[in-house]
Amino acid sequence: MMDFRIEQWRAWAPGLDSTQAWQAWAQAPHIVPDNLEQPTCAFLPAMQRRRLSRLARITMEVAWPLCGEDEQLPFVFASRHGETPCTFALLADVAQEQPLSPTKFGLSVHNAIAGQWSILRGQRGESVAIAGEADTFEHAMLEGAMLLAEGAPAVVVVIAEEQPAAAYAGWIDDVPFSYALALRLGKIDPSIESPADTSWRLELGPHGGDGTPGTWPHALNFLRALHTQEPSLEHAALEHASLEHVWKTRRWNWQRTR
């Protein structure tokens, strides 16, 4: 069982780059067309942007404002599939016996984006890069909660997925479009009055049977919950602010506590 506050969050998907756009999406979720759009990341000089892949840009775009210039915060990068378009392009070069791009090859590891975050933001603390199954999102939150328990003042958690290369269509069925969600997690502290925050309890229990996977990836589903459960709701409504994500033998229960 884990308790934490969500102090700030930010999400991106093609065409969904504002609070209003996500609000509308949360109320009427649908598959948005993914035409390889990518955020501009204008906060970075061009020379620093040149080695950021699409997924790296998407990650920077959502995570950037969640960490202050003078803060050192642990960083959790989570992605079930990672950069399949880059992997596929490298494999195609191998198959055609073409030399590999040193830059692409050097960055073709799962923790490359966490490394770029560290370099670009001057972050010298812990970073974690994980890949799990359909509940990668919950495992990322578990990492974040453990870092908080270790004493971190706050943790930046990002889950990012990129629309896979067409060749993977038969295997990857849980990335309806490229998206990323960044959350800034903090400890529950009753002495802090921060009405904009929401507090959540995440609990893992056993799950028997297969169950059907949800329509939306867990992170997007949670994003809907963040939008539809406004803090202005009455206490009675808050009690219903919960959601459940099941995967294989795991049942993740999300309960909003404030």
Partner: protein, 96 residues
């Protein structure tokens, strides 16, 4: 005043564009890089990974071979002008 940048010969212009495209230098146009501006360190600000990437792109584009331990490599890669001269020589050598 950078008169060299005003009239880039074709090969220089081509190499400048190759650098921009290969290294993903979004905000630059070929004419923005003076042919005698240092590419590495002070100047354009490229680094050693860029050098590897650029060597690969030059080999692919011009069908030349650049040995990784080639003598004077850093001199050849110093500016667009020196790269153009190097490509010209190598192209002739490889063609014969």
């Amino acid at each position: 005043m950078e008169p060299a940048a005003l009239e880039q010969p074709a090969l220089e212009q081509e190499i400048a564009q190759l650098i921009i495209d290969t290294l993903n230098l979004e905000d630059l146009a070929a004419t923005d890089i003076p042919v005698d501006q240092p590419l590495f360190g002070e100047g354009l600000g490229l680094d050693s990974v860029d050098a590897l990437e650029l060597a690969l792109a030059l080999q692919k584009r011009y069908g030349i071979r650049i040995e990784s331990n080639a003598k004077h490599a850093s001199q050849h890669f110093a500016t667009i002008a020196s790269l153009a001269a190097y490509v010209e020589v190598q192209r002739t050598a490889c063609a014969s």
